[in-house]
């Protein structure tokens, strides 16, 4: 009996020792990463890698705004087959989303979330003396990406910027935290644009002059975006300033006669990688819609197409004739299949030309205008435009924006919203589908897309009115 007790006791002591020893090591044992592929972002390399996710950061420019423009039309049969949201946006339907949450809204916010994750994350790391450049590039890039996304969202989901009403007009949620538990709230248009321009100005000194690759933001990209933003705000002095800054950093234009870059007759006429495109400032592509993407079902507006001169190389570089109809094919986005949604020098030249024209600097404006057009025409066929009339030049330059950037991002949509405020340029858009006429008058409520139903239902924000 006695021996039993000793054995019993020793067994319990042994087991207890094993368990106790285990307890101490327990935390260590359990603090182990579950999957090796899972990185818990912790250093600057990780955060830079998040921003280098070009499939997310450079591929989420909204598309529905472009769908609503007048640069093209579609056959009634195509319309019948188009569905939501391409078809509904084509006719500016009151409820274009029909219960779905469109990528146009959600995807730019993914860019915002990435940028916020990075901004929250690097703050915890802090600037090290040896890594200041890297740190600054990451911070500047994150600010740029977030501003780019906010700008894209504002163009589709806010009223166009009007200084007198901007502080009352509802803006977009300006999310600045990565925590999904913080609910979204609507800002004002003024706050939205202040955020964008403020962040971009903060980013400029942080960013490098020339980026490693054009999917990364740079000083020129931030300046270029500011030029675009101020143009859309009708603040032409600022737009001119930042267009100038951009073109000081990069002024390249492609000569469309140069076969190194341009394969005019090919389905993909531009270089198949953005870095090979000399005009590229910041590469991004739009979301996809077969109505407007290259070689899609959209037929280019005949007035627009016929406005190109016979010697204008854009006629063959940007378009292909299919069954007698001009179909858009030329996008800087030679890499993928969607539309170019970033910024290139051609747009900045046109912004500078427009701003100078508006300021009355006609000859300076003409320099930019003629330089661009010379690069677009068959060598030796272009005669420089000569004028002293700023008003007539403004109309020409504005029309040139349509011709140069017909399916780039939502440039045309932004122009319609901005220019409709000026009675000289205000137009009513119409769609004719088998005799059913849809119209979009200037400054119509339907120039502002509604928020998705889910956004409204889950946050009780005010919805954009539509008619």
């Amino acid at each position: 009996m006695q021996t039993y007790r000793i054995k019993q006791l020793s067994a319990l002591v042994l087991l207890g020792a094993v368990l106790l020893a285990g307890c101490k090591k327990q935390d260590e044992f359990l603090n182990y990463k579950r999957a090796n592929a899972d990185v818990m972002p912790s250093n600057l390399t990780d955060y830079q890698a998040l921003l280098d996710n070009n499939g997310t950061m450079n591929a989420n420019t909204p598309i529905c705004a472009l769908i609503g423009t007048d640069n093209y039309y579609i056959a009634a049969t195509t319309y019948n087959a188009a569905g939501v949201p391409s078809g509904t946006c084509y006719t500016w339907a009151t409820d274009p989303w029909q219960g779905y949450s469109p990528g146009d809204w959600g995807d730019p916010y993914v860019v915002v979330e990435y940028a916020n994750v990075v901004l929250d994350g690097i703050q915890k790391i802090g600037v090290g003396s040896d890594s200041a450049n890297i740190y600054n590039n990451i911070e500047g890039s994150a600010l740029f990406y977030r501003s780019f996304a906010f700008y894209n969202l504002a163009g589709e989901f806010c009223k166009p910027y009007t200084a007198s009403t901007a502080s009352k007009d509802p803006g977009i949620p300006l999310r600045q935290t990565s925590d999904f538990n913080v609910p979204s709230v609507r800002s004002t248009v003024q706050q939205t644009y202040d955020q964008i321009t403020g962040d971009l100005k903060k980013a400029i000194p942080l960013l490098p002059v020339s980026p490693l690759t054009t999917t990364r933001p740079s000083k020129m990209a931030a300046n270029a975006l500011l030029a675009k933003v101020y143009l859309s705000m009708e603040q032409y002095d600022s737009a001119l300033l930042y267009a100038n800054n951009t073109l000081t950093l990069k002024s390249d234009l492609m000569d469309f006669n140069n076969t190194t870059y341009i394969k005019a007759s090919a389905n993909v006429p531009f270089p198949t990688k953005p870095d090979q495109n000399p005009e590229m400032i910041f590469f991004a592509e739009t979301l996809g819609s077969s109505l407007v993407w290259p070689l899609g079902s959209g037929i280019t507006d005949s007035t627009l197409f016929s406005s190109y001169d016979v010697n204008d190389l854009r006629k063959s570089v940007l378009y292909k004739i299919n069954n007698g109809n001009p179909i858009f094919k030329g996008t800087y986005d030679g890499y993928g299949t969607y539309n170019f949604g970033g910024i290139a020098t051609n747009e900045i030249y046109l912004i500078r030309a427009e701003c100078n024209t508006r300021k009355g600097n006609v000859s300076t404006a003409l320099q930019d205008y003629n330089l661009l057009l010379r690069n677009r025409h068959v060598t030796g066929t272009y005669t420089d435009l000569v004028t002293t009339n700023a008003d007539s030049l403004l109309a020409v330059v504005l029309y040139e924006r349509r011709k140069e950037l017909p399916f780039t991002s939502f440039v045309r949509w932004e122009d319609l919203r901005r220019l409709n405020k000026d009675p000289r340029f205000a137009i009513t858009l119409t769609r004719n589908i088998n005799g059913t006429i849809y119209t979009l008058p200037p400054n119509d409520l339907n120039y502002v897309y509604p928020f998705p139903d889910q956004e409204i239902q889950l946050t009780s924000m005010a919805q954009n009115p539509r008619d």
Binding site: Y4, A11, G22, R34, V39, P41, V111, T213, Y335
Partner: protein, 1194 residues
């Protein structure tokens, strides 16, 4: 090899085995009853008669037998041991029954008087085993020495050891059995005692929790024990499906018999890719979790440790018994992983002092072809062509025909286009189209893609043991030929175990399960797969007039990706043929998957005393999977890939960025788990009235996987060479449009590691064989959760009581001699497979060549473990002579802190990495559910004479309601997964209230603001009870089975009827958009569509429209008009077997031989719906299988 020659081989193999077996004559224990009538006849004659009836072997010396006295006896149906006792009562001889052998020896002289004995007493070390009449060990039987107050109890194998002195008296007692007394004699070193039941107690049932084996009578929880006989009643390819229809409370969401067919081997790439959180489609007592990130699978235990590998690696013939743990008290010992119940599988083991027993099973099952003609998800050629014609007229195809992407169009559309373009006369066009109207692709499907399924199973089990060692070797081989031509699986499983007692009180156990699974899945053309679809320009369709082969059997191309014009024009430039030939691809496909799994199990048990022992156990499982996919140069995949990248120079010379040749893709994955366990067992019977079974221990587990892959372009299968100097960073202009880089080969190496630490203890105490009490606790930690350690470790506990009312003195219900009540309360957990941290994954950008990271999980520090609270109340009972036995249980299960997909506004920007259905979701512990259910099992012996009729009735109900659910309902909630409102069933089905068809144009109508409305947008967006009706639970609330077994003279006929009641389902409906009917969802409901006023009286299928109206379609699809009742009663199987009588076999070495035939999936007896739907299978009925087999033992 044909089936017949295979069978011959097997028969030869059987013969060889018989010879082998002859060297080890023995057989399993039999608890037989015999009848004997002898009138003053020699003992030898009487024994010969017994031998004839029982197959027992009598070993004796003729000389000694000659001294026997003649015997007279007349008994009927008496236990063999009793008969032997009577025969030897006055003989100078005695007998010793060991297993199936009776040794006859000279009776030793009568023992001397006690006082003399005491003087000459010598110590004897006795080891022994206490079994019931069927040979099952009796756990916890008490052995008392010299009427002392000290008892020892038998262990979990029914064994004991003690030291006594010659002349001591042993008393062996066990509840419900006759007490035995005997004196210790000198050579009493091994004592095997068989106890006779008093025919009062319930049948002895041993349950195995994976940590302990317990007598059911002393447990408080809800266990279901499936013994070998029941488990083997029906044949099956995998180990789990055989449980379908025999365990109360266990529900197979897909019909169990079809487990392999539905989940594996039907299409390539499917194998091994089952949802890791829902691998088995089994729920035990309803679903207790909501999130897709939480495992819904019960925990599977094989030989005391969790089994992590592919369950298909196990062979059903190696399983001895199954215990299902249902409530908290039963399962809480498994802690955090037990919330979905636990299934404990025990493989066949050897027994000590058992001569080798060999069991050999073989069976063949044959299953007919799938009846795809019954599928209503199909439109016949005539209707299909009419729709295409209509769409053509409306210009639907215009953009396709002019598109610069050159999408393929169907042959009909191509003909119509030619006619319109004037390239073909209208008459010729009509003739050509009419010729297509009579074709039916289903004929070709059945001819070229389908066949009969055959499954062959062979297994051998050899078991035995000596004084201090046991061994078992189980070998199983399975050869499964899927219904799809060229798809097959074969599996070899070897399971060996040894137990050895090298020194007193020390037991060493070692076991290994090796399995090798070979899967070939070349045929991806199963009915319903998209491999045969036109797949171009956003149109997907199975064209019903597709032909696979011409009259000579040559493979024909079908419309697939590009139109004929484009394919011809590229061919002229020298491109590869761009046509798609399904039959050619079928012959060229090469997808193999090999899986090897090894489970090593080792344990050491040291007994400090008879009641206290320590077990140290280790288990290692290592599984490797290897898959090979080879795309032949002639396959469509390869030609398409090469062509799309082919570059044409200005002089027309072709170059091939994707090299000509094949493409090889290899993937390897390993899974390993290591378990270390230390366990103390305490089993003691104190003073006869107190019985304690306790266990306490801890364990550490690490489970990890690795995976990597390789692929090679330009692969030449003959020489094994590949093109390796490719540049994946170049962006090429592709044909016909766009540009892109060539997909770079796999190079990743993935590792996952899951770690767990657990501490647990379980106490079962029984007083006076009447009152039982249990208490169990477990603490689990894992490297899953939370930022704080507190959240990583989760304590769970349970407690329970049992009361054997029928043992009370006041109990006097004669007709119900057995009545026991039990109740439990406690918690289990569920395991979440996500993480609380912000995590990202690295990849390399094809555009920039830079390493980039994607967020895979947003930070979520508030995550906690899910809890499941269980309350279980049960009654076990047995009527007199056990005519009716059974148990009735009621339970309540509460899922607390359940993770739910919690919708957030899209602007939080996490849409791309967590999305579920229509909206963006994050995971939060926000929901709770409450389930109520009952499980009833009734066994009755309706007739128990020479002709026997036994019945088992299993009846389960379960209702799971949502108590807390934070998800705000949005406009489209009704259309998503079936999660609904507080107070309503989980998996409830909601519908838009139906108001019939508009008699003027066949539009579907609903209600809005109490009025009949066609404002579909309004109805869908106005989430209110006025527009919406609750249709019922979408999972059965009542289910079970009714099994009947008839026996006569060795014949056993049994059939099992299963039923599921009290639920609804949605009938597959046509899309009421004309273009979707042909390009999204073909459905024969089209033929019942509203066409003219008056039709609304006969049909609920609205008129079809073009252009599409999405909201109109959504309204109809989710309206109450498409809801069907789900109830059904199915005759699942019929089983006929015949046991060759031992007497017929007495000359042979075969101890038992059973032949059987089984029909599975016999058919529906009744179904609630009138739509022709089998609720489990849809329109295509399950295929009936026929199984034939032999089970023999030597």
């Amino acid at each position: 090899m044909t089936f017949r020659t295979k069978l011959l081989c097997v028969m030869k193999l059987t013969a060889v085995l018989m010879v082998v077996a002859a060297l080890h004559v023995s057989a399993k224990t039999v608890a037989q009853r015999v009848s004997l009538r002898v009138q003053h006849q020699p003992l030898e004659i009487a024994l010969a008669k017994l031998k004839q009836q029982t197959g027992l072997l009598f070993i004796y010396n003729d000389r000694e037998m000659a001294r026997a006295k003649p015997v007279t006896l007349d008994v009927k149906e008496v236990q063999i041991s009793s008969v032997l006792d009577m025969l030897f009562e006055d003989q100078p001889l005695n007998y010793e029954l060991q297993e199936n052998t009776v040794f006859i020896v000279i009776r030793p002289p009568a023992p001397p008087p006690a006082d003399v004995l005491a003087m000459m007493a010598i110590p004897v070390f006795i080891k022994g085993e206490i079994v019931d009449s069927a040979g099952n060990p009796l756990i916890g039987a008490s052995i008392q020495l010299n009427h002392a107050r000290k008892y020892i109890t038998t262990d979990d194998k029914g064994q004991f050891s003690l030291t006594a002195q010659t002349g001591d008296e042993l008393t062996v007692s066990y509840v419900g059995y006759e007490t035995l007394n005997m004196r210790v004699f000198a050579n009493m070193t091994w004592l095997k005692l068989s106890m006779r039941p008093l025919d009062k107690g319930l049948k002895e049932v041993i349950v195995n929790t994976g940590y302990q084996t317990l007598t059911a009578d002393r447990t408080t929880g809800s266990f279901v024990q499936v013994n070998n006989e029941l488990y083997d009643r029906r044949e099956g390819v995998d180990v789990l499906s055989k449980l379908d229809g025999i365990v109360s409370g266990m529900y197979f969401t897909t019909n169990g018999s079809n487990y392999l067919n539905t989940n594996l081997y039907t299409s390539p790439g499917n194998a091994g890719l089952l949802n890791p959180n829902n691998r088995y489609n089994i729920t035990i007592r309803g679903q207790s979790t909501l999130s897709n990130l939480v495992s819904k699978d019960p925990l599977i235990i094989v030989d005391n440790f969790p089994y992590e590998g592919d369950i298909n690696n196990l062979d059903p013939n190696m399983i001895e018994s199954v215990t299902v743990l249902k409530d908290a008290a039963a399962a809480s010992i498994w802690g955090a992983r037990a919330g979905n119940g636990v299934i404990v599988l025990t493989t066949k083991k050897g027994k000590e002092r058992q001569a080798m027993q060999v069991d050999f099973n073989e069976n063949v099952s044959i299953t007919g072809k799938r009846d795809i003609y019954k599928d209503r998800g199909f439109l016949d050629a005539n209707d299909y062509i009419n729709i295409e014609d209509t769409l053509f007229t409306k210009g639907y195809y215009d953009s396709y025909l002019t598109s610069l992407q050159y999408p393929a169009v169907s042959p009909v559309v191509a003909i119509l286009a030619k006619v319109r373009a004037g390239q073909l006369s209208a008459t010729d066009g009509t003739t050509q189209i009419n010729a297509l109207r009579n074709l039916d692709v289903r004929k070709d499907y059945l001819k070229y893609f389908y066949r009969q399924t055959t499954n062959q199973q062979y297994s051998i089990s050899m078991r035995g043991g000596s004084n201090n060692a046991t061994y078992a070797l189980n070998v199983g081989y399975n050869n499964f030929k899927s219904e799809l031509v060229r798809n097959q699986m074969n599996r070899l499983v070897i399971d060996a175990s040894n137990e050895y007692t090298p020194i007193k009180n020390l037991e060493i156990y070692g076991g290994i399960i090796y399995s090798h699974l070979n899967t070939q899945s070349d045929n991806g053309f199963g009915w319903g797969s998209s491999s045969m679809y036109l797949n171009a320009g956003g149109n997907y369709a199975l064209l019903p007039y597709t032909q696979l082969a011409d009259a000579q059997g040559h493979s024909l191309p079908i419309a697939r990706k590009f139109n004929q014009y484009y394919m011809d024009s590229t061919r002229k430039k020298g491109f590869l043929d761009w046509n798609y030939y399904p039959l050619q691809d079928l012959a060229l496909n090469d997808n193999t998957n090999k899986q090897t799994d090894i489970v090593l199990n080792a344990s050491v048990k040291y007994k400090f005393t008879s009641f206290l022992n320590l077990v140290l156990a280790y288990q290692n499982e290592y599984q490797t999977g290897f898959s090979r996919t080879y795309n032949d140069p002639q396959s469509f995949y390869m030609r398409d890939l090469v062509n799309s990248f082919t570059q044409v120079s200005s002089t027309g010379v072709l170059s091939y960025p994707v090299p000509l040749g094949g493409y090889l893709n290899l993937n390897t994955g390993t899974m390993s788990s290591n378990n270390y366990r230390a366990l103390v067992n305490y089993n003691q019977n104190l003073g006869g009235k107190h019985v304690i079974n306790a266990v306490a221990g801890g364990e550490v587990r690490q489970q990890g996987t690795t995976s990597w892959g390789e692929s090679a372009y330009g692969y030449n299968d003959q020489y094994g060479t590949a093109v390796t100097n490719m540049n994946y960073n170049v962006s090429y202009v592709k044909n016909p449009t766009g540009s892109g880089t060539i997909g770079s080969p796999n190079g990743g190496y993935g590792i996952t590691t899951n770690r767990f630490i657990s501490y647990y203890s379980n106490l079962a105490y029984t007083y006076n064989d009447r009152y039982s009490f249990s208490l169990s606790g477990r603490k689990d930690g894992a490297n899953i959760f939370g930022v704080k350690t507190n959240d990583k470790v989760k304590p769970l506990w349970s407690t329970g009581i049992g009361w054997k009312i029928s043992s009370e003195k006041f109990y006097a219900v004669d007709w119900l001699p057995d009545l026991r009540f039990r109740a439990t309360y406690g918690y289990n957990g569920n395991v979440y497979n996500g993480t609380a941290y912000l995590t990202a994954r690295y990849s390399t950008s094809g555009l920039t060549g830079l390493q980039y990271a994607s967020i895979s999980n947003p930070p979520n520090p508030d995550l906690r473990w899910e809890n499941v609270r269980n309350i279980n109340i049960g009654i076990d009972f047995g009527t007199k002579s056990h005519v009716l036995t059974g148990s009735i249980e009621g339970y309540q299960k509460e899922g607390l802190d359940l993770l739910e997909p919690y919708p957030v506004e899209p602007s939080v920007g996490i849409g791309s990495y967590i999305s579920g259905g229509n909206g963006i979701y994050v995971t939060k512990n926000a929901a709770s559910t409450r389930s109520y259910g009952t499980d009833i099992t009734l066994n009755s012996k309706n007739i128990d004479r020479k002709f026997k009729w036994y019945s088992t009735f299993i009846f389960s109900t379960v209702r799971v309601r949502i108590i807390d659910y934070a998800v705000p309902q949005t406009s489209s909630s009704i259309q998503s997964s079936g999660i609904g409102l507080k107070g309503r069933p989980l998996s409830g089905m909601y519908s838009y209230r139906w108001a019939g068809l508009d008699p003027t144009n066949g539009d579907p109508q609903g209600y809005l603001g109490g009025k009949v409305s066609k404002n579909y947008s309004g109805i869908i967006n106005n989430y209110n009870p006025d527009s919406v009706v609750f249709s019922g639970s979408s999972i059965p609330t009542i289910y079970g089975s009714f099994r009947n077994t008839f026996g006569y003279n060795g014949f056993i006929l049994s059939f099992n009827i299963k039923y599921k009641l009290g639920y609804v389902m949605r009938r597959p409906t046509p899309s009421i958009n004309l273009s979707d009917e042909v390009y999204l969802r073909e459905n024969a409901g089209y033929t019942q569509r509203w066409q003219k006023p008056g039709d609304e009286k006969f049909t609920s299928v609205p008129s079809f429209v073009y252009p599409s109206n999405t909201l109109r379609e959504q309204f109809y699809q989710f309206s109450s008009a498409t809801v069907e009742k789900g109830g059904m009663i199915r005759l699942q199987d019929i089983n006929l077997s015949y046991d060759l009588k031992a007497s017929w076999l007495n000359k042979s070495i075969v101890r038992g031989l059973r032949v059987f035939a089984n029909v599975d999936n016999v058919g529906l007896i009744w179904k609630a719906n009138k739509a022709g739907l089998d609720p489990d299978y849809g329109y295509i009925p399950p295929r009936r299988s026929y199984v034939f087999g032999i089970k023999s033992s030597f």
